[in-house]
């Protein structure tokens, strides 16, 4: 089990009603972690076209998660 922090932004934050949570997880990747989180938060739907960062570095949905990581779930972006 890894201890991780998860941060939700914009539409994801509104869907979960929280900004940050601490979790014990066996998820290997952000993709697996998102699916775990969506099982606990009814309104969290899909990470299709969303971006993810670990410890303030943009990364891939199948990157490995390590103990102590902070995982940032970014809904599809819309700057400009």
């Amino acid at each position: 089990m890894n201890q991780v922090s998860v941060r939700y932004f914009a539409a994801f934050r509104e869907a979960t009603g929280i900004e940050i949570e601490q979790l014990q997880t066996t998820a290997y990747s952000p993709a697996e972690l998102f699916i775990e989180c969506a099982a606990r938060h009814d309104r969290l739907q899909s990470f299709s076209r969303a971006l993810v960062a670990i410890n303030d570095e943009m990364t891939d949905w199948d990157a490995p998660i390590e103990d102590g990581d902070e995982v940032l779930f970014f809904p599809p972006v819309a700057g400009g």
């Binding site: 932004f9 914009a10 539409a11 303030d56 972006v77 819309a78």
Partner: protein
């Protein structure tokens, strides 16, 4: 000169342009993104930008470096707004100066396109109907 910033204050365009002055440059291209009054059939009254500033700045600077490397321009800067914006406000500005115009046009286009796709910035539109929605986020959340 290269820089990328996030601000919650109105952007001073003349000060921005001055940063990019360079005796070796014969071309300056600037792109402003403005808040407009419609999107996908809805009348838009105002916008709100949420920005995750640490990564937006970091990724913005990476894009600026990519443009300098790729197009051989001398200077490139960008500023993106956060917070509440009204119609016609400048939401984003990108400026590029270069010895010649072709590279300046190409680099400016590259930077704004990448900024829109890669920076952790989200736009909420407030509509005349009274509703508000996060743009591009139809599948993020199940409806209430």
């Amino acid at each position: 000169m290269k820089s990328f910033e996030i601000t919650s204050e109105p952007i001073d365009l003349s000060a921005f342009r001055r940063r990019l002055l360079d005796n070796a440059c014969g071309a300056y291209v600037q792109f402003d993104g403005w808040v407009r009054d419609h999107n996908e059939g809805q009348e838009v009254l105002r916008l709100e930008y949420e920005v995750y500033t640490p990564l937006a700045v970091k990724e913005g600077l990476i894009i600026i470096d990519e443009a300098i490397e790729k197009f051989g321009i001398r200077n490139a800067c960008g500023i993106h707004r956060g917070g509440l914006l009204e119609l016609t406000d400048v939401a984003v500005v990108v400026g590029v100066s270069s010895p010649h115009r072709a590279a300046a046009f190409d680099a400016c286009r590259y930077i704004i396109d990448e900024v829109k796709q890669r920076l952790p910035i989200w736009k909420k539109e407030y509509y005349a109907s009274g509703e508000a929605e996060w743009v591009n986020c139809q599948h993020c959340a199940h409806p209430m």
